[in-house]
Each structure stands twice: as C-alpha cells, then as structure tokens.
C-alpha cells in the first residue's frame, strides 16, 4: 500500500503554495511536490518589488511575497516533498497515481485530486527566427535573472534585449544597476508588451531606448556572442531587407513570451485552449478530466502574481471538496466575441450552485474607452466601462449568476 492523499499539488510556486494551503484548510490531506530545493518558484529570483499590491496592499519583493505563503504553509499539515520530480501521472480507479522521483529513488503516491501548478516556460531563441551562429551569450530574460540574482554572475557587459515583456524590462534595469550597459530594447510589435510602469521605471529612469518595429535577425560570434543584426519589420513583423544594422554586444537577452507548461495535463488527455495554451477550465481550474485541476500560469499566463494566488486558492478549495461520488458535473459555457483574446474560465461548474464567478480576460487589440457586458440570453449579468484595454494587461470581473442558470446555458462576453 503506498502513500495516499486527498490532494496532490504539483509545483511550489505562488499558485501551488496557495493551492496547498487552501486545500489543507478545507481539511484535505495534501501533498506538495516541488522539484527545486526551495519553495517559491520563479519568485525566488524576482528580487524587484511590486508584488502583492492587490493582495496585501504592499509593494513586496518576489521572495518576500513567497515567504508570506511559505510561513502560512508551515502552520498547516501539508506534506512538502522538495527536490522531487513528477515522472508521470496516471488515472486510477479512485483518482490518480503519481510516480515521483527524488534522491531517495522512485515512489508511487495516490491522490483523489491533482492540482497542476507547474507555471510557464519562456520562449527561447529556437522559437523566434534568428539566423547565424549559436554562441554563448544568447539567453532568456529568466536565465539572465537566475545568473544575476541567484548566482551573482553578470551574464554580459554590453547587452541588447529583444522583446519588451515585463521580465525583459525588469532585467534591463537590473543589469544596468549591476553595472552592465544595456544598449536598447528591441520590439517587433508597434506597442510594448510590458506594463507602462515598467517602461517608466526600468527604461526611462535609466535613459535606455525602446525601439519599436525592430527585431534581431542574426547573431555573430563563435564561442561568445560578438554582435547582432537588427532589422526593421513591416506590420506583419516580417523583416525588411535593406534596413539591417549591426550592433556589437556580448549578450542578447530574450523576453519574447511565455507558454504554460502542460506536459502532464496533456498526457492525461486534458484538451488545451488554443489561445491560453493551458487546459480548458472551469472557474475552479478543474479541467475536462474530473479531479484534475490547473491554476496560476500553468492555466494561462497571468500579469500579476496576486491573481496567480487567487486561482491557486480556488483550485485548492475545490479539489479538497471534490467528492468522487457526486461528480455530476453540469456546466454552463462562457463565450467571447472577436474583440477578446480570451476569457478564463471557459466554462462554469454549476454543481454547488455558485452565486458568482471570477472571470479574467484580455482584449485582442489595444482599445480606448470600451463597454464590457456579460449576458445570459437577454439578461445582462454585468455591464462595465473600461477606460483602456491593452492585451498585455489582464482584466478581472466578477459575474453574479442568477438562480435560474442551468447546464448548457451560454454566458456571452461582449465589447462595444
């Protein structure tokens, strides 16, 4: 007979920490599996502040934000398994069987519900079209952050940054403070991907130029990066011949997007959403596989950690209360019009008659004043005006569900 838990949480970052705490508070026996030696996930290397403004009303550094949850976790009886890798998860008669690998060897663990809090991964140089050699010095912003903040090693002295995502902007400031020279941030799109406040405090504060509609098309150098080629791009982001410009640098930092990590979800047969690249989920993060939950950046890439924690809590509570005898799931669906990039969740579990549902969404394009509405048939559930909507910024609304809502109903989200 092997170890048996009500809930197994995979990943000890902000989503997994919140999920494990919530699950345990509901009285479920809970296992938290983390492959690294310390809890906190990516927050460990996010030494900058700005975390927790919504949750705690304070601007905390990443490790500080994680510490609050780690301290709370210590008060629970969650079983934590560090330096442990999930080899595979299989569906079993009464839940799931996990195969875990650690220094002690391989072990099998049973769980009635599994929460995937595996976060996301960065797009690498192989996923953007850069020609030329493959020298050292081309690294993702997260890797540069790990070298700088965890190991204390500067990844370059003369750096260029491709992509204007928040991690790239944060690393631009960090490298500059540590004495490296950042020549510029190059973004193929016509608008920056990062938050305006990060453009202000990470680039403008240090007079670092942001070059829009430009991209890196080639790397030069044998052992070490020596130079890059920059080209202008057209509106389809295709490089324009004749606009090439060579820039000497010893590091190229990539901040070109994040993709939810869902290898485990896929092996279990959960279908992934085309846009979010995370599993199709209900408001508690439950996927199409009963008992399998997804939360945080594994479900969809969030803009703020506060929302990651919120989704972890929802998944933790729901997984703990999962009763295999009454898995009579009945769902209403959520649909969005063409002005949305996506909305999360895609469906609403009506068992337990929820009175309200939290919906996160992003707009497809940058928009000015926009009317948002949520409708069920002719009934308006919510109307709200947004002054601006930008794809990089996630919005959060709370929909009140009327008592009459039933399985198969469609909640339509619209913009005008």
């Amino acid at each position: 007979m092997f170890e048996q838990y009500d809930v197994a949480v995979i990943g000890g970052g902000p989503a997994g920490l919140a999920a494990a705490i919530a699950s345990s508070k509901e009285g479920a026996s809970t296992l938290l599996v983390e492959r690294e030696g310390r809890l906190g996930g990516i927050l460990k290397q996010c030494v900058h502040d700005g975390f927790g403004v919504i949750r705690f009303g304070e601007k905390l550094a990443g490790p500080e934000y994680a510490q609050r949850y780690i301290n709370e976790l210590k008060e629970t009886d969650v079983q934590v398994s560090l330096l442990t890798f999930v080899d595979k998860i299989e569906k079993s008669k009464d839940g799931f069987t996990l195969v875990l690998v650690s220094a002690q060897g391989m072990r099998r663990v049973g769980a009635k519900a599994v929460i995937l809090a595996t976060g996301c991964r960065e797009r690498t140089a192989r996923q953007v079209a850069i020609h030329g050699t493959r020298p050292a010095g081309v690294l993702t912003a997260g890797a540069a952050q790990f070298y700088t903040n965890i190991l204390g090693q500067l990844p370059g002295r003369r750096c260029a940054v491709l992509g204007s995502g928040d991690i790239g902007l944060i690393m631009t400031r960090r490298l500059t403070l540590e004495g490296a020279q950042v020549l510029g941030v190059y973004e193929a799109k016509s608008i920056p991907s990062g938050l305006p406040r990060n453009i202000a405090q990470c680039l403008n504060d240090f007079d670092i130029p942001l070059h829009l509609r430009k991209t890196v098309t080639r790397c030069f150098g044998h052992e070490r990066l020596e130079a890059i080629e920059i080209s202008d791009v057209d509106e389809n982001m295709t490089p324009l011949p004749g606009t090439e410009q060579i820039i000497e640098c010893d590091a190229l930092i990539l901040s070109v997007g994040l993709i939810p990590e869902n290898e485990l979800a896929e092996t279990l047969g959960a279908s992934l959403h085309q846009v979010t690249r995370g599993p199709v989920c209900d408001q508690n993060g439950q996927t199409e596989i009963p008992g399998l939950f997804s939360c945080g950046n594994a479900a969809h890439v969030n803009d703020l950690v506060d929302y990651v924690s919120e989704s972890g809590e929802a998944a933790g509570r729901a997984a703990a209360m999962l009763n295999s005898e009454c898995l009579m799931l009945n769902y209403a669906e959520i649909s969005v019009d063409n002005n949305f990039l996506y909305a999360m969740p895609q469906r609403i579990d009506l068992s337990g008659s929820p009175e309200e549902v939290i919906v996160y969404f992003r707009s497809r394009d940058e928009r000015g004043k926009t009317g948002f509405s949520a409708k069920l048939g002719d009934q308006v559930l919510l109307k709200k005006i947004f002054q601006t909507l930008r794809p990089p910024e996630m919005e959060r609304v709370v929909l009140k569900l009327p008592p009459g809502v039933k399985a198969g109903d469609l909640v339509r989200l619209e913009m005008e």
Partner: protein
C-alpha cells in the same frame, strides 16, 4: 504640463502634471489619490524603492535578495548600489532584518527580503 506614468500600482495611469505656485500640483489622468502624491514627488524629488542582492559567505545561498525599507531619492540609487557591492553577509539573518544602514547617503536602511539563510544553509 509634464507627462508622467504613475508607478504606484500596476494600472500605470498616464498623468499630465504641473506644479502650482503655492507648492501643490495640478494632475489629470489619475484614477486615485495616490496619483496626486506621486506626481508631486516625481516633479520635486523623485523617489524609488531600490531592490538588489548582496553576497553571502554561505555556499548554498551565494546571494541574498535585499531592498531599501522605504523609497529613496532616485539620484542616490547608484551610490547605494556601490555600498551593496561591498557587503558580504556572514550571519544567518531573517526576512525583514537590517543588512546595512544608509545613514551616510540618505534616510533608511537595507533589509533582507528572504528567509533563505534561516533554513538549509
């Protein structure tokens, strides 16, 4: 009128601001009161929280994340960074504990932002 982006919260409101002769500030574009305070400080004496790391003598945790315990004048960030580069932590300190005093540079101190030295080193 000067264009500013409020960095107080993730909303990042676009502000238009100018100082008034009586020492106040005229602001538009803010969606809360914090935008007014931010604009006034930004136009008179811009302040930032500085976050960084310091070296430690513990092999399992070579760098400890730290930050200033309050906002400091933006122009002092370089000087504080130079101070941090000379620090090596050889005691096990906790999240929130003081790492250094900024006395000579500006008001405030440097505090640790993690508990890593308290466990597992």
């Amino acid at each position: 009128m000067k264009q500013l982006i409020c960095i107080t919260c993730p909303a990042g409101c676009k502000l238009l601001a100018e100082l008034t002769p009586d020492g106040g500030v005229n602001v538009t574009g803010n969606t809360c009161k914090r935008g007014v305070d931010f604009a006034l400080t930004e136009l008179t004496n811009p302040m930032r929280t500085l976050c960084s790391t310091v070296r430690t003598s513990f092999a399992a945790c070579p760098m400890l994340p730290v930050r200033t315990d309050r906002e400091i004048p933006k122009g002092k960030m370089g000087e504080v960074m130079r101070l941090l580069m000379g620090i090596v932590i050889d005691k096990k300190i906790a999240c929130g504990d003081a790492v250094a005093d900024l006395g000579g540079i500006c008001e405030g101190k440097i505090i640790a932002t993690s508990d890593w030295l308290m466990s597992g080193v």
